[in-house]
């Protein structure tokens, strides 16, 4: 038996495991849309019948719309700001020899790992000591902390992926650094920028803990959902709302990842584009 055949050989049990794994990964989430169309106030089997009622109800609710607008405002601001900072940071990290780069990158990625409740609490304490009232701005400030590492992580592979000599050529042809950035670098990393905008928007839009600690009187959409979870009679409408949010998140993230696919995850082998 040649060693080559070992590596290429199919492993049936592992394949079955992988398929089951994916099913288990998705099925719990899919129960939300399933029951959101169920014509019953109770979330349980057997299913009663198909209805759009819970979706229709949502559209007439004023608080849902205002919470949605709050989330969109914060998401838009946060995604643009964190992506802008992320572009410069990713360029600096990949292009220049910076002393202590490893620890610096680690510091930027820290918010991905530290429990968010700690950030929420720490920012809350700071803001209250400074006398800053809680508002959508403070929520956006909190979201910036978690979106920045996502932006940097999305953009770094893009910067690593492109040929540095193109930038050098631009410089040789007399463009200054600023124009080189606008006319050469940015177009090259544009897929990464778009992906970063979409991913950070989703992260901010879906984030709950920081909003929980840092929002004032205006709730974001996840905060609104959290508030409604206490009322059993609201369950079906929340299922409908949750289904729409999850569907939108899936679509936005999928498109974002697909746009950026050539660069993601350390350039996946065997899938060149």
């Amino acid at each position: 038996m040649s060693s080559d055949s070992y590596i290429k050989r199919k492993n049936r049990p592992l394949q079955v495991y992988a398929v089951i794994f994916l099913i288990v990964l998705y099925v719990p989430v899919l129960f939300l849309p399933l029951f959101s169309f169920n014509d019953s106030l109770y979330v349980r089997f057997p299913l009663k019948g198909f209805t759009w009622q819970w979706y229709g109800e949502l559209f007439e609710r004023e608080p849902v719309w205002s919470a949605l607008m709050n989330s969109i405002k914060i998401g838009a601001a946060v995604s643009v700001l964190s992506t802008a900072m992320g572009v410069f940071a990713a360029k600096a990290i990949t292009r220049y020899r910076i002393p202590g780069r490893g620890p610096l990158v680690g510091f930027i990625m820290l918010p991905l790992v530290v429990p968010l409740i700690i950030f929420g609490v720490a920012l809350l304490v700071l803001l209250s000591q400074l006398g800053v009232p809680l508002s959508l701005y403070t929520v956006a400030l909190g979201h910036m902390i978690i979106c920045l590492p996502f932006a940097v992580a999305t953009l770094i592979p893009r910067f690593e992926g492109f040929d540095k000599s193109i930038e050098e050529a631009s410089a040789d042809l007399g463009e200054n650094a600023w124009w080189t950035f606008w006319r050469v670098t940015l177009p090259m990393v544009l897929p990464g920028v778009i992906a970063s905008l979409m991913l950070t928007f989703t992260v901010s839009f879906d984030e709950f803990i920081l909003a929980f600690f840092l929002s004032g009187t205006q709730p974001t959409l996840p905060m609104y959902i959290w508030g409604q979870l206490r009322f059993p009679q609201e369950f079906p409408s929340i299922l409908a709302l949750a289904s729409m949010i999850i569907a939108m998140s899936f679509i936005v993230v999928f498109i974002g990842m697909w746009i950026n696919r050539g660069a993601s995850f350390g350039a996946v082998k065997g899938d060149e584009t």
């Binding site: 070992y6 492993n11 939300l32 990290i93 993230v253 995850f265």
Partner: protein, 310 residues
Amino acid sequence: MSDQTLPNADIPERGATRPGAITRLLHKSEALRGASLLSPALLFLGVAILVPFGILVVMSFWTPAGFDFDTTFTLDNYREVMERPIYGALLERSLWISGIATVATVILCYPMAYYVAFHVHRNKMMWIVLMTLPFWTSYLLRVFAWKVVLGYEGVINSALMTAGLIEAPLEFLLYSQEAVIITLAHAWAAFAILPLYVSLEKIDRSLLEAATDLGDGPVMRFLRVTLPLSLPGVISASLLIFIPTTGDYITPALLGGPDGAMIGNLIQKQFGPINDWPMGATLSIVLMLLIASICALFILLILFIRKRIA
């Protein structure tokens, strides 16, 4: 990360046009240019992370006084955390729950990452996107989905009852430590898969061939080559899950009930209903210190084991 771009890193600046004094300085120094690009992000994170942490540490030495704080320095909060059993018990339970969730997630995700790294040859990207996609959607809603699945009248109970397999709903499904562990393992799977996949993908295939040629069977080959080489992935996956889940709030709040409550819930209570902010700050600091020391121990242990094997 991009070490291959470094050796000729100072060439491009030469072609630039005649710059002003500051620009000239920037052009001369690699580090300075890099630092100036990095500075907005670092400055922001520095202010938004370090300053609040500083205040948090300071506040942990205060005590509440009516609606305000008594700002005289005292270690009373830390003493109370040590002495009152409720704090220790909750901390211990949090570490225990997320420890089990971490081990379960890493063990369950390893074969999956292994499969994609070694046995998927076409559409690898598709598999990775599929595995990580749910992770990007709302954490709150994914936990909520588990509440729907595990609830007293939820998917599992009502399905089993409709099928006539059980008479009354199984009560242990919701509001238990098990429910919290299952949900955490499910929700953080992507955090385990990515580092595991990256470390497995990096393994040089010729090492496996060499092991085979030298007479190792599949099991020995895995134990002696693949597993040790993927150890960095296992370590980072474990840390990436253990650290954030220990302080998790949403999952224990929605699915834990009284038995499954974790330290995150108590911290939130200190800032909410109990209204003892200094104690909340103290608990946060203690939690961070505990996590940091456990992670340090874990890394030392792994390094020690690796030295013994090698």
